[in-house]
Symmetry: C2
Subunit: 652 residues, 2 copies
């Protein structure tokens, strides 16, 4: 069914039309999206981060893109000097596009006039570099540069076009199709369709990204040619078209057609963007086989190739997925962008399937990857998100872009800096993950203080969520506005919200005052809910022990602590020793007073330092004591430390 | 003390002079080397492999170097066509040099006339490509190529010179200094000294190798300039001279001076070759601080950054060492060349220190890396040596060079193929690791059926070792020839040869028929041993359980089996199931009847296939049964399989 949003938000122009403020807008869905026009996050965990994004992260990223002269590559393309003077890597144009996308959503969300002016300035500089036929890339095609489309494996031209188109889609959905930037993007997309259409070049991009962008541009414009072009890019892939590389063809998913793959493989961000595009395409073409393939790949990947944090991509080499159950915590790559791409993919699948596993994956990834990458002040980032830090890292240089290895604190920017710009667009669009509607009712997937508006068959509905989640598990949903007709409020019960030795499971108190136990999945309130009525969901967020499937060898004999959706971590700052020495006792649940989580820890000193293999060596143990854990997303904010999520368990 | 070998072996020309047949010849040593002229391996585990090297591996490698047109790069350099038609990677010249080195040692060992003819043919083709000033490299300096010395980070010019010089040293020590190839190599080395001397270019090679080669050339020629040049290369390194790369400056050990490093870091082969060169340099210059630094780095690396197999280099990315205790078995890189380099380094340190830990490391690495890489037929190789194979690999293409990822069986050759040529020179020189002398006696370090000759102060001594080691632990050393004066026979007791629940420790039965317990380290027989007399060492090779230091998180809760120096492995072929399902009981020692090793295994089926984290999941167990293990070095000879060395332990 179609989404029909009539309320324009603060920065949303009325001419943005249907799908205004929707980060992704499938023309058909079991549950249709509610976007920036429909959902407002009112402070709390995510509201605070949206504010940091607006006030600090976007300006910080903008500053670094200028400082590193990646933005001014467009100026130099115009004045003819870029060939000998281009800054940044081959994909740096895309960072400017991702920032523009983030700005566009943020302008749509808040109507910030200063940001609008800055957007217009950058957009004009980009547009000035566009060539007459719509082509736009600062590193190819000029005298002294390589020719256009001469390096599909590594050149990233179509990847950059993809992010440009996504920025254009964001602008179209917040400022309307007539916007100059949108029109420029359409010229660029038309160039791609002419160049790579059925009768054109039969190539595919080394880095998927443009597929989802083209489907979204089809959704915005209604132009079939963009959908057709996305189909061509998806169908051409998987036949070994790209050149043979050391990482193997699976690096860019060119080893097996999308419809035949059973799990994600190769470069994680490439695989997940491709899957998001395939999921979008399946919706618009009604290709149920393609849809089922992507769903199967996603669920298998969640079962076998995903970290406790929701992070994806085990290998540093090739930034790729590992084999099933190969999930080392210390060499976890778990790139921030892969987490973001997983959220994008699972959001698409959730809308089509109504399967709570996708909402669970989104929640897990948001709290433990998307919230972990940026520093609290929004001016530093982790590119990789390790689950175990073995050595105290070095403090990053505040004035130089870092390489990717884990530093003691979050570096300000990177030589390859896809993640910071990706975060700006993600934080600006967080509202879209909160809820959906299906004409008959509203489904709430993520819990945050928020206002949700939807136009249902029975009339307009507005509900307000009040909660300090995830600190506390109580979520109160109050109906602020509702026509008298029937509608249904549906709430997600996270998979972890079950009875454990630490406490009972989730309960729901309906408007009639009845309280009942509710099981993981979705629960719907019976009948219409009148204005002023409240529903209260209580989720058991108290800290609990979490074990890994024994096939995940790398954390055998270890145990983690989760508190609600938040993965906890032990940091040396709290232990007062290297976390390598910690052993935890699990006889009783973790101690959780609602503010602090503590676990009983024994510190074990190993005898140094000869050949490390032989008879069993239990080590010398010190007395047991209670040690505080911290949320993983807030680790490395107190200087150099060692850290681990999975802690060796001391056997009785 | 100086080594003084007067006996020329089968292929050793008398004019090879002192140090004839010695793969490394320090001018001073606590224990001096005995080389190809002094030690003959008479069949058995290593003798068989030397034969395979001679009859199969060297011809196979030679064939592939021609097939891939890496050898004929030299011909094309001569005819002027190489610029547009060069085959192979930037270091491919070095493969021809390593093959020549292997051939030179093999000719020295056996006097094989056909091999001598082939050596001369290839050597002539290489020499023809040398330029007038001594420079020699097929990828730089010609029209259409990059200029000489324009890429120290990745160009590998000095690395290639290093291997060329090592081939020249091998030829000099087996055919004499007047050999044409040796003279060509000297011209090349003189070019390097002119170009990079104290007043020349202040650069260093991105890949260390030439340092040890130059010291060895000094030893062969007595020319101080080569030693001085090695000193310059060592002293210049560690100051960030090379360009900044993604892997970090530690990749090529340019982050910290050699004398200040405390452990090996960065690219493992680079680090170990550099250390071998530094160790050589320290001997010749009497630089005890440098010597102590390398010893400390080596012992710390053995204690914290070495696999049970002796393998080094945990990371695929950058082929580098991991952090302390970061030793994942499934993503072990453990490159064959790093194992070979570790053997070279530990051999050097053993001669200087008499510390049995270095001999232990050599034994472990020879049996579990050097013996593991090549296929039984000598026509396939593992580049990386994983300790856990999670999925059945694909069969390698028999006609194409492979990439490095673990295949189901050993690929015939690689696109980057440093390991096969490195193995040819290693197998040809195995005899050098067996024993040393110190003028007063003979020290036996490695056990194999062999004949050892040494010229001692008391006169010439010849001893014969008879053993089926490592299958059995009995080693009989019989004196075949000895002057009547006093001399000492010293035998190494491996560190694993201690009493365990599986049996008692090592015993020594001296010529007088007395048997006594002997502890790990070195044991010397009292007084002179007369011709005809025998000493018998019994080592407890029966299979034993081996645990890892608890700081090696990746194998926590798992246990390995070793039999003598041989690491055992569980392969799915024997289990009849994926080795991921195996749990082993360790209540009793492994069952070892002298031919077969078996362990009690329970197969555990895990419930598929949802989110893999939550409550503890013990799985469904099947009945316990005995399953055979195989020596790790013989895994993957029976088709696709999964394999693991460390097996999860079933708790009682």
């Amino acid at each position: 069914m179609m989404t029909m949003n009539h309320n324009a938000g603060p920065g949303l122009h009325a001419e943005a039309g249907t799908a205004a403020g929707l980060p992704v807008a499938p023309s058909r869905a079991l549950w249709a999206p509610l976007g920036l026009a429909d959902v407002t996050i009112d402070g709390g965990f995510w509201g605070d981060r949206q504010a940091v994004n607006a006030t600090a992260m976007i300006p910080h990223v903008d500053h670094w893109l200028e400082k590193l002269r990646w933005t001014s590559n467009f100026d130099r393309a115009v004045d003819g000097t870029v060939a000998g003077d281009r800054a940044g890597r081959e994909f740096s144009d895309s960072e400017i596009y991702k920032l523009l996308e983030g700005m566009a959503w943020e302008i749509g969300r808040t109507g910030d006039a200063a940001l609008e002016a800055r957007f217009a300035e950058i957009a004009a500089r980009v547009e000035a570099a566009q060539e007459a036929d719509g082509y736009l890339n600062t590193q190819f095609g000029r005298e002294g540069q390589r020719p256009r489309y001469s390096d599909f494996e590594w050149g990233h031209e179509l990847y950059c076009f993809g992010h440009l188109i996504q920025a254009g889609v964001a602008r179209a959905r917040t400022a309307g199709l007539d916007d100059a930037f949108v029109q420029m993007v359409i010229r660029a997309a038309d160039h791609v369709c002419r160049e790579f259409g059925a009768d054109g070049r039969q190539d595919i991009p080394g880095h998927p990204e443009i597929e989802t962008a083209l489907v979204e541009l089809f959704r915005v414009t209604g132009q079939q040619k963009y959908l057709d072009q996305a189909t061509l890019f998806i169908d051409r892939r998987g036949h070994g078209h790209l050149g043979v590389i050391d990482f193997g063809q699976q690096y860019f998913q060119d080893n097996v057609p999308v419809r035949q793959a059973t799990v994600f493989d190769g470069h994680a961000v490439r695989a997940l963007y491709l899957a998001a595009g395939a999921a979008d395409l399946a919706v618009e073409t009604g290709d149920s086989a393609l849809h089922e393939a992507v769903v199967g790949q996603t669920l298998t990947t969640l079962a076998r190739r995903t970290y406790l944090t929701g992070g994806m991509g085990a290998h540093h080499e090739g930034e790729s997925f590992g084999e099933d159950y190969e999930l080392p915590p210390d060499r976890s790559y778990s790139e921030t962008c892969a987490g973001i791409a997983s959220v994008m993919l699972n959001h698409r699948l959730l809308m089509q399937t109504g399967d709570a596993r996708h909402a669970d994956a989104i929640e897990r990834t948001l709290f433990n990857i998307v919230a972990t990458s940026p520093a609290a002040d929004g001016k530093g980032f982790y590119y990789t998100n390790v689950l175990q830090q073995r050595v105290e890292g070095l403090m990053p240089d505040p004035d130089e872009p870092s390489f990717r290895a884990a530093a003691a604190e979050r570096p300000p920017f990177f030589a390859v800096s896809c993640c910071p710009t990706n975060l700006t667009r993600t934080f600006a669009t967080l509202g879209a993950y909160i809820a959906t509607h299906d004409g008959e009712g509203v489904q709430v997937h993520q819990y945050a203080p928020a206002t949700i508006r939807a136009s249902l068959a029975s009339g307009d509905v507005t509900v307000r969520m009040t909660t300090s989640y995830p600190d506390a598990g109580r979520i109160e949903v109050t109906v602020a506005e509702a026509a008298p007709g029937p509608w249904t409020l549906t709430l997600r019960i996270p998979s972890w919200a079950v009875a454990t030795s630490a406490g009972s499971g989730a309960t729901l108190t309906t408007a009639d005052g009845q309280t009942r136990q509710v099981a993981p999945g979705y629960v719907s309130t019976p009948g219409p809910v009148a204005p002023g009525a409240s529903v209260v969901l209580d989720l058991p967020v108290a800290a609990r022990w979490t074990y890994a499937d024994p096939r995940i060898d790398a954390v055998r004999g270890q145990v983690a602590v989760e508190r609600g959706p938040v993965v906890m971590a032990l940091e040396s700052v709290d232990l007062g020793a290297d976390v390598a020495t910690a052993r935890v006792r699990t006889d009783a649940p973790p101690v959780d007073d609602g503010h602090t989580v503590q676990v009983p820890v024994t510190v074990v000193d190993q005898d140094d330092d000869g050949w490390p293999y032989g008879g069993y060596r239990p080590g010398q143990t010190q007395a047991q004591r209670l040690v505080s854990l911290i949320p993983y997303h807030s680790w490395a904010e107190r200087g150099p430390s060692t850290m681990r999520i999975f802690i060796p368990e001391e056997r009785a």
